[in-house]
Symmetry: C2
Subunit: 739 residues, 2 copies
Amino acid sequence: MSIRSNVFVPAIVLVAQICVAQTAGTSWEEKFRAIPSAEKQREYMKRLTARPHHLGSAYNKENADWMVSLFKSWGLDARLESFDVLFPSPKERMVELVAPKRFTAKLQEPPVAKDPTSNQHDEQLPTYNAYSADGDVTATLVYVNYGIPADYEQLERMGISVKGCIVLARYGASWRGIKPKLAAEKGAIGCIIYSDPREDGYYQGEVFPDGAYRNRDGVQRGSVMDMPLYPGDPLTPGIGATKEAQRLPMDQVQTFTKIPVLPISYGDAQPLLEALTGPVAPGSWRGALPLTYHIGPGPAKVRLKVKSNWDIKTIYNVLVTIRGSEFPDEWIIRGNHRDAWVNGAQDPISGMVAVMEELRALSELMKQGWRPKRTVIYAGWDGEEEGLLGSTEWVEAHADELKQKAVLYINTDSNSRGYLGMSGSHTLEKFINGVAKEIIDPVKNISTWKRSQLQRIGTGSSEERQEARTRSDLRISALGSGSDYTAFIDHLGIASLNIGFGGESGGGIYHSIYDDFYWYTTFGDHDFAYGRALAQTGGTTVLRMADADLLPFDFMNFAETVRKYSEELKRLLKTAQEEVRERNRQIAEGVFSATADPRMPLIPPSVEEVAPHLNFAPLDNAIDLLTRSADRYDKAIRNFKQGELSSSVLKGVNAKLIQSERKLTHPDGLPGRPWFKHLIYAPGFYTGYGVKTIPGVREAIEQEKWEEAEREIVRVSKVLVGKSDLIQEAAAMLEGPEK
Amino acid sequence: MSIRSNVFVPAIVLVAQICVAQTAGTSWEEKFRAIPSAEKQREYMKRLTARPHHLGSAYNKENADWMVSLFKSWGLDARLESFDVLFPSPKERMVELVAPKRFTAKLQEPPVAKDPTSNQHDEQLPTYNAYSADGDVTATLVYVNYGIPADYEQLERMGISVKGCIVLARYGASWRGIKPKLAAEKGAIGCIIYSDPREDGYYQGEVFPDGAYRNRDGVQRGSVMDMPLYPGDPLTPGIGATKEAQRLPMDQVQTFTKIPVLPISYGDAQPLLEALTGPVAPGSWRGALPLTYHIGPGPAKVRLKVKSNWDIKTIYNVLVTIRGSEFPDEWIIRGNHRDAWVNGAQDPISGMVAVMEELRALSELMKQGWRPKRTVIYAGWDGEEEGLLGSTEWVEAHADELKQKAVLYINTDSNSRGYLGMSGSHTLEKFINGVAKEIIDPVKNISTWKRSQLQRIGTGSSEERQEARTRSDLRISALGSGSDYTAFIDHLGIASLNIGFGGESGGGIYHSIYDDFYWYTTFGDHDFAYGRALAQTGGTTVLRMADADLLPFDFMNFAETVRKYSEELKRLLKTAQEEVRERNRQIAEGVFSATADPRMPLIPPSVEEVAPHLNFAPLDNAIDLLTRSADRYDKAIRNFKQGELSSSVLKGVNAKLIQSERKLTHPDGLPGRPWFKHLIYAPGFYTGYGVKTIPGVREAIEQEKWEEAEREIVRVSKVLVGKSDLIQEAAAMLEGPEK
């Protein structure tokens, strides 16, 4: 008997049937979604944020133990898994203006009377940037705006070099670690990063404790480890930082900054900025302090001193395993980190408590008789803030098993009010859209999917509006970095998703002592209504994936998305060509000399060679093949009928699907950063968190490495062909023997 | 004998010949351009700005007398012509925060040690807005951003009414008089306007006296007379304010504000803004003060008191006439105002001294034997600042003669460093482009035309770049209002130009006591290099027009420009239709309710009727006719040969050309504002200075008055047909009897 149906059934109905099939009965899902509680999330948060709980702190371990015993009390198999990682903590910190007058930065966030945990000074990690090089430097100060590549191009036009200087950069427009990285590449010997009130201070809204935004002493701590090279413990790249792991000597570590760096508040930054003269900063460089922003260099001269305790500390991942009843070797992993910079209510506990409620709800289902078909693993990662330590070490330690068994990793990192954010592997775009349609927005009483669709219609360009109205799925973003999915997707090629609500609660307490229970319950998702919605979303995602007969991967959206990226690459190249051609023409016409203001001298640009044309044909061919394969697979599942395939065939197809994201990796990884194996998604080498899709080609074009771009086109094309082959094989299995 | 040449001569050569013909020998022009001196402009400025010289002040009259005697010393026929105008000056002024705490605004600009004229307190006109209604009001304060129509739409969305309130608006984005006008229309009972440091204070650059920008006590004075209704003396609309003129009673004057209004500094504004709560102002509403901008209403409560001395004062226009040797009844008029708010070095003396050097240079040419063919009149207008009083009263007083005789009015109002700004009647676009090609930029040593072209290439969009590279003339802007050309072009339909350099010297001393000799010679065109270039430009314009055999009007550029405006109108209507259609659709979809942040309630918009289609056919037909006529005239001048036409024919053609701009006026004027007779150019009713082209149609569409829009299309079409007829007649005369 053929598995093909000769009866005409509209495709949409078939897909709906498959969904039902895949969810193994809507009733478990519905039961599940009724369970998560807002009040319990509030209780968990109160407990977890009661004291500072950064990596290595006493309360961090207490929290871990408490979580394990709580999960055990729900009848779950919970445990700690520890690693030993390099953790620098502040020993000496100093920022001092030494000329033209003296000023010593406070580097201290004061307690606030309204806020009961803000006075736990002895347990708070001081304000600093983890993995900064030690150093004590005194030099002329230069303001470099955000300190991103475009800013240095502007400085070059103005004839200003940062060589031998200390740069002052404001937070924003990039991941912070890029600022000292680029500054060092440009010859700077120190880097100070401050929070301008324009980004998250009074310019945005009332400051804490009167409002949600950063006050004049608030400081953004944060890691500056060179994570775009590799995240995780700097001493054990590629392997788990177990006790016995072989460690790099300190002087061979590549991911420390090359120069000392410290973060400061705008209260501390203001005297530094006031002491700068030289050209007035361009309009887009100006913040919200009441002064004229100048670039310098100098006359401000600054002393910057950073010294850390370079300790090995133990981190504790909290892990819960619910063994699969049918496919125990197919793993669905769900996680959120549990460590914070200080008390960390918003980041990360708001996400952690939702994940905990998912887990409690699953334990309730189990009491009612439910067992997942696949193994479900829940994780509370430690040491995320310093460099994704807990998740990365765990992934590296279990790499072989994960490569075999991991179906999906679902990450959350913090939660807030507003819209459901969805990003991840595009083979899961259709799947996660389906989940979003099930979750009701707690304020608007429409599905979170509908709400997001209407937001895109309301705020999008006319093209985005059109797409939001007509495309059956909302586009999800690709994953860059900045949270614990990184090792899963980028290092091992495990299909991943990142979910969480946001968009309606601003604030400026990120990585400060004021990110705590008082702040969150005053200015955040104060009633945990969206915390509840997040638990419903995450749990539905887990349930649906854990119990599906056929894993709900889809390749049509993926193929379309890769084609979109490839068109972007062509446009990127074309734009680069046109810009250089136009600039060369303008140089010849005399535009730059005619328009240079004699009082604001700009160095005219030089004539550059126009970028060559690149051979995109291999990529175009691979994408055509991918599209045909996706189409064949799509037809195959549309014709697939529940119960007509043997479970061994299904298991075989699922095994293919589990490996499908792995096909996008290459053992050599990306050029210059072999830890990053995924050839379609990666954090940008000069953006840090921001994603670069088809990164090998894209960054080669951006950095004008034309031969590398050509080579990368070929490499990417090959992995896409490999993926297409796998899709064809899966389709063939679904089509059955007649085909 | 035919005037047509049968010998093929490239058109460009012919045009060049005409130019030569029209300038009556380049030698006079060249001689002229060698004369203007920078040093003399510096001397004139030092004298004219030595003391405050506003309307009615002692030094204003002293300056007038000094100018007349100086011009007489050059052998010129100089005189004063006076009018008696209504001039309100401050009697009582108060801005006081009365709740939640008390603060009294200083309303006072302090002297600055470095600046020798800033301490002339007794002669300085206090900070105020002339023609504000008297009043003493106490009410809740609301921040309304710039106080323009879009801002009130935003307030409406937020559910905030200004009814019964005092509004606080920042300077910028509109002419200041629009702010109290709109506020009153919306029900406010008082208006305070302040200079935010973002616009022209420390956000832009160092503040005075360390830099060119507005310090915390600097205030922008200025008129708030409803000039878009009619400028000039409020008591004598349409007629010259001579001693015996019949005056309106005060209570029938339409151009006073309906509510009291005062300008304040940002030092005075800061406590008011700090006392506002309510919603945080949208991003684009935020200035550069170190606070969170809130809208209110309240709890800030403010008392605003304004009382003026409503005096009749005498104003003195300085006039010089150089009688034309061949066509004494064809007048070329050139002017700049000479009155200021206080010492006024930049505004207006920097322009006045250049115009004076033109005059001295012409007097030198006369000593060498030159006489203009046409009569040349130079003017130094009084009372411009209060409402274009001097120029408007002069134009109204001499309207009949001007309508007959005026060929062109060339205005300047201040000068600075940088690029030659050119705006005016598009029949003169080609002509003024020709002048700009003759003037050498004093810094770059290329023509001012070339420099402007390269700037457009360097900073324009790709369309603008393309046009700048290929169009033979740089586009000039249309004239709105804000200076003394207004009565000439808008009331009488005299072709006008406005010229001046700018773009490289910023500053924030506009209408403050710090706009003085010290500021200008430190931060402005300190060496008067561009003052010299301006004298060369203005004088070349005058000479070339005064001595042309055939007046160099061109209708091709005009026709093309009007077509461009007409396309803009169609796009405006289409965009309005599409916006309403899209908004209605989004309302139906539920976008607004789904995306409203519960903590920032917005009132959803209501369904509106989509704008109807309008009949643009009359306008299209008129523009087609205009284009054909322009083309015929253009062919006629290309074939025209110097010396082949009798001087009486030339005089006849010139008489037509002189009347050609008049054809664009209509005796009834614009809807609701009959003083404005020109149907192609006018200041916007809700922009004040900003031009609205084809204003009857454009503003009817903007204000959704569809029947009026249809009527105005017909009226505009008729004047264009009338103009086309005139152009045909002129062309026929040039073509000669055979045609």
